[in-house]
Symmetry: C2
Subunit: 430 residues, 2 copies
Amino acid sequence: MRKYPRVIILGAGFGGMQTAQSLSRKSAEVLLIDRNNYNLFIPLLYQVATAQIEPEMIAYPIRTILGRATNTRFLMAEVKHIDFTHQVVEVNNAVIPYDYLVMATGSQTKFLGVLGAAENAFPLKTLAQAVRLRNHIFHCLEQAIWENDPIQRQQLLTFVIVGGGATGVEIAGALVDLKQTLKKDYFDIELKEIQIILVQSRKTILTELPESLGRYTTRKLSQLGVKVYLEARVSRVTQSAVEFLDGSSLATATVIWVAGLEASLPKTDVKSQIAHKNKLMVQPTLQLNEYANVYAIGDLAYFQDKRKPLSGVAPEALQQGVAVSRNISRQIQGKAPKPFKYFNKGRLAIIGCYAGVGKIGPFLLTGFLPWLMWLSVHLVYLPGLRNRLQVLLNWLHRYGLRTRAVRLILFSSVATCDLKKILDRLSNFT
Amino acid sequence: MRKYPRVIILGAGFGGMQTAQSLSRKSAEVLLIDRNNYNLFIPLLYQVATAQIEPEMIAYPIRTILGRATNTRFLMAEVKHIDFTHQVVEVNNAVIPYDYLVMATGSQTKFLGVLGAAENAFPLKTLAQAVRLRNHIFHCLEQAIWENDPIQRQQLLTFVIVGGGATGVEIAGALVDLKQTLKKDYFDIELKEIQIILVQSRKTILTELPESLGRYTTRKLSQLGVKVYLEARVSRVTQSAVEFLDGSSLATATVIWVAGLEASLPKTDVKSQIAHKNKLMVQPTLQLNEYANVYAIGDLAYFQDKRKPLSGVAPEALQQGVAVSRNISRQIQGKAPKPFKYFNKGRLAIIGCYAGVGKIGPFLLTGFLPWLMWLSVHLVYLPGLRNRLQVLLNWLHRYGLRTRAVRLILFSSVATCDLKKILDRLSNFT
C-alpha cells in the first residue's frame, strides 16, 4: 500500500537526527519521533547550568533541521511501547507500523542505589534540569548573603559534584569561572567562602583519557581551588549534606549528580538482548541480534570498538547515524548491511579558566590549546547560525569583559530561607 | 542607632529600580525587595510569548543594575505584610523596620469575573506566563499538523486575544508575523487555516490614543488577516472555546487574556486609601494621604495628570522613581516634598509587520516611522549591552532572513493530543 518502506526513528538526539538527515534523499518514508520539538546539544548543557549561556542557545527546532526533506515527518510524542514481533510503535493512543526501526533514545541519569540521591541531588541530562540547577545555585547565593550562622552559610556556599568524568570536571571548572565573576554582585560573600568539591569513586579522574591527563586535570583543578576527593564513595544525599561510605560527611545544599548513566530503553517485550547499563546488544552492523530490521545506536547501543565499548560521545552517535542510514538503504535494495567502523578523531575535555586536555591520535595535549580547540569544535558543531553567534557573543562577553551574562532565577518559587538574621546584617550596613 | 535613615523599596520594576538608582548617592540606607532576582522589561514580554526573543534577553539581574551602590542592599523575598503604624515590612519570618517606604509592586492580571478565564485563559504579566504561552502555541501547532478532524484542527489553529489595548494589538501583530514564518516548518498546515481574532469590549481599539489611530490600527490588522471584534464582551472561557455575552461562541484552544489589570497591593491594615482598580490614592507629592513617610508609584498609585489618571506605562513609573528619590531626600534634610509633574514625551504602539502608530506632542504618526521608533526606543531602554545586542540580532534575523529564531517547547510536558488519525495522515504521505 505504501509507496516506500517506512523507517521510524525514535529519538532526535545526535544519532537519531543524523539518521533522519542521512535518509532524507533515500527512497524511504521517514517518521522521526521525539518527546521534545527540539534537538538538544548536550555537550554545552553544563554551561546552561552554570549560567554561561542561555537554554535556547543549545536547543534547535527539529523541524528546522529537517528543513525541506519531503520524505520526512516529525511527530512530537512519547513512545509507550514497541512490539518487535508485529513491527509497531505505540505512541499515546496511536499504533504505527514500521518496516525499519532505528532506536536512538539515548541515556538517562542512574543514581546507583545511593539513598536520597534521586530526591536531593541535581542530575544534568535535560534542559529543564540545567535551568533548575542554575536557579538553585543562585538561590543559594541569595540566601547565603543574608545568613549570619556560619554553618548554614557554609552549607549554602559548598557545591559538591559527584562524578569525575568529563561532565564533572567541566562543571567544577565552570563553577570556578562563575565564582570569579560573583564578587561584583555579591560583595558580602568572600570568594574563599565558596567551596567546590569534586568527588570521584576511582583512583583518577577522566578515566576515558590516559592517566597522565587525569593527573594533570586534578592538579589544575586543585590550583583553581577545587578540592578533588579520589576513591570516595557517596552513600547518602540529604537536603543539607552528602555522606560517604567511610562515615565522613560534608554539609552542602547542592549535590550535583553526574556519576552514572544508563540507556533509556523504551518498553518492549524483549529481555534477552540487554547488555551492561541497560544497553541493547547490537551486531557489528548495528542491527539487533534478533531483528534484522531494527537498529540501535548511540548511548542505547552496546557496541565494541577494538574490544572496548564505545564511550558515549556525540561523534560515535553521529557516525552510527550515517552508517544506519546506509545499511537501511542497502537492505531496501536487497543488499546486505555492512559492519560499522568507528573513526576516532580524538577526544577533548575542557577544564575551564583557559585550560583543557585532549588526545588526538598519539598526541596528548594540555593547557590553552585543547581549551581553545574544545570551544571551537563545539561552536562549529552547534546547530544554527544564530545560536552559534549568540554562544560566541556570550563567551566573548565572559572572557573579554570578565562578567557573567546570565544569572537569573527563572520560573522558580521564592527562596524560603530563614531570614531571622536580616536585621543583624542590616545593622552591619556601611 | 542607624547612621542613615532606612528606605525600603518594594518591587524592582521600572519605578522601584529607578528609585533605588536615584537614591544610590543619597544619605540613606536603601533596601530593595523583590520576589525575583531580576528586573523584567515588560514591554517586550509579548515578543517572548510569540517566540521572537528569548526570556533571558528581557530579564536583567537586579544586583548588576545596582552595581557599586554601597548604600544599597537587595533582598529576594516575598512581602507578607506591611504595618504602617509601626513602620515595619514583614518578609518570610523577618520583620524589617523602615524610616521611609516606597511601594512599587506594580499590577497583576484581572479576569473581570469572567467564568473560566482564570483557569483556561493565558495571561501575560510574568516571564513564566510568556514561556507558558509560547509552549502552548507550539503545542497547538504540533497537534494540529497530525489532526484530520476539521473542527479539532480549526480549534487548535484559532488564536483569540481578549483586550484591544496596546498589548492586545502587539500580540495580534506578532502572531501574524509568526504565522508568516511557519510555512517552512509546518508545511502540512495551510496559512489560511490559522485564525487570529482580537476581541475588544469598546467601540475602538487602542483607547489610550486618539480615535483615528485606533481606526488605522483596526484597518491595518484587518489587512493583515486579523479579525477585530469590536463591542464584544466575553462571558466564559473553556479549554476549547470562548463564549460571548450575545450568546455566540468561537472554538479555540488558545484565549490570550490582556483585558484587565489591577494593582498588586501587598497586605496592609489600611483600607480607606484604595481607589479605582485596587490602586493607592496618593497626594501630588506621591505620598500616601495618611502616612507622610510612605510613597506609592507606578501601577500601584492612582495619580491624576491634567485631571486624567496616568495610563500605566514605563516612563510614568521611571519619572515617579526620580521624584520620590528627590522627595525622600528633601524630607531627610527637613524640607517639604515637591509635587510630581509628569512630562509626557508621547506614546507609541507597535502593530507589527512594519507598522505602528504614535502620538508625539500634537503629531499623529502611522506606518513605518512609528514602527521603527518603537523598536529603537525599546532597544535603547532595555537594560544591558549584551541583552540589547542579542535582541537586535534576533530582530535582524527575523526581519532580515525572514525566519523565526526561537520556537521551542521548553520545560513542558508532552502534548496529549488525540493521535488516532496519525495513520491516516501518514498514508497521505507524499
